[in-house]
Amino acid sequence: MSVDLDRTPRNLLLCERSSLLDQKNRLSAQVQQLHFGYKVSVLLPECSSAPSHLDSVLNSFSSFYLIRKLPIYELLDSDFLQKAVYPGGVYGLSYRTRIDEDNCVALMPNVVSVDLTDSSMATGGRGYMRLLTGLKSRLRLQTDFLLSHHPGGGACLQPLLSRYDWSEHTPEVSHCHLTHLSCPAPRSCDPHGLLEWLGAVDADVSREDPSSSFLSSLTCPDPKTRLGGALRVSVCGLLLPPDVQRLIQELRRYLEQPLLESWVSLTVHGFVDSPVSWGDGKHGVLRGGDNFYNLLLFQDHTYQLHLATGAHDTCPP
């Protein structure tokens, strides 16, 4: 009995260290694996305002569309397949569906259980017709749907959008200036301590307040340094991997200049209710549902990558 009470849902933390100068580094492929980003958070230590090139990238994440009550069989529309899906770059996810309660749908270049690019699913084929009939008559799935296309310009999505109630949205950007914070040594800090510190900064958790020692014993991991301040920038919406790749390139460019602190942090949160997490891997939520990664970039072109996943997910790539 006591052993069961001590048990927690399985969770994995994958920690990778490498150099961006190493041609074999897999960072780009790993970033591409998290198809549906919800929030990107950047922490720039000892920075009061982001340089213009960085600000420009943060404010130019692809816009996305919300389609109300989209029947799922519309994603099999031959015109939509030909003009949008087959050329690639279309991402879609059901909106306000909870994976532990509702049906959830994701549209990727390689759909989890229905590969629209497979020859058996060609328009008019037996597999295609069977699925279309099923979605139209037997299982009339309908959901609010988020849809995006990269590179930008939703021209190929317009025929589908025009048939339903839709709205366009741009990712929301917010800035926060932080002052007087203790910071652990990013290279030597243990991964869980580092992620806890980053989480405390991201969630505005105050630390080391002696008057509240009854409430919390949270402290900054040792060894620590004192930062005069930091800038935290967050972007929220349906965020695509190509935009995250561009942001990483600009962060590398930011690190090329002389800085008081030689590192930056980037955290990307996936959608909790996405049916896929890393690549085509299944994702689920019951008592967890972690689906994020944190990237620490250093001035010497090395990086630390931490990918977190929960009990119902496969190990990240």
Partner: protein
Amino acid sequence: MHAVDQKEESVFQRVVLKNASPFHYMKVHLVLENETTRLTAVELKHFIISGLKTLHGEVGAALNVDVLKYDDDTLTALLRVSSRGLVKLWSSLTLLGSYQNQACAFRVLQVSPFLLALSGNSRELQLD
């Protein structure tokens, strides 16, 4: 060693940590029968400790639960507990049914072994 050789010897390291997080974090929301009732952070922690004591006795009450953040307007809190104490804490919160003679319930909004995960919950996305 020659400087160019040092650069070419890139250090690649990959480690997979399974169930290695020492803590679990919970985002909880206290719903009270009288919606105007307010608690301070200290009162909330006392309430949680009382729940642990009721269900798990003195051993449960000795469990270290940190209230990392508390919003007294929305009665929403971020809690930290050792991973071995998660089940005890969660079960205590589930069975806490009354506060000062009024019905109440703890809604567990999010649980994770990573505090960082609690600051990016896509269920909060509002596009209406």
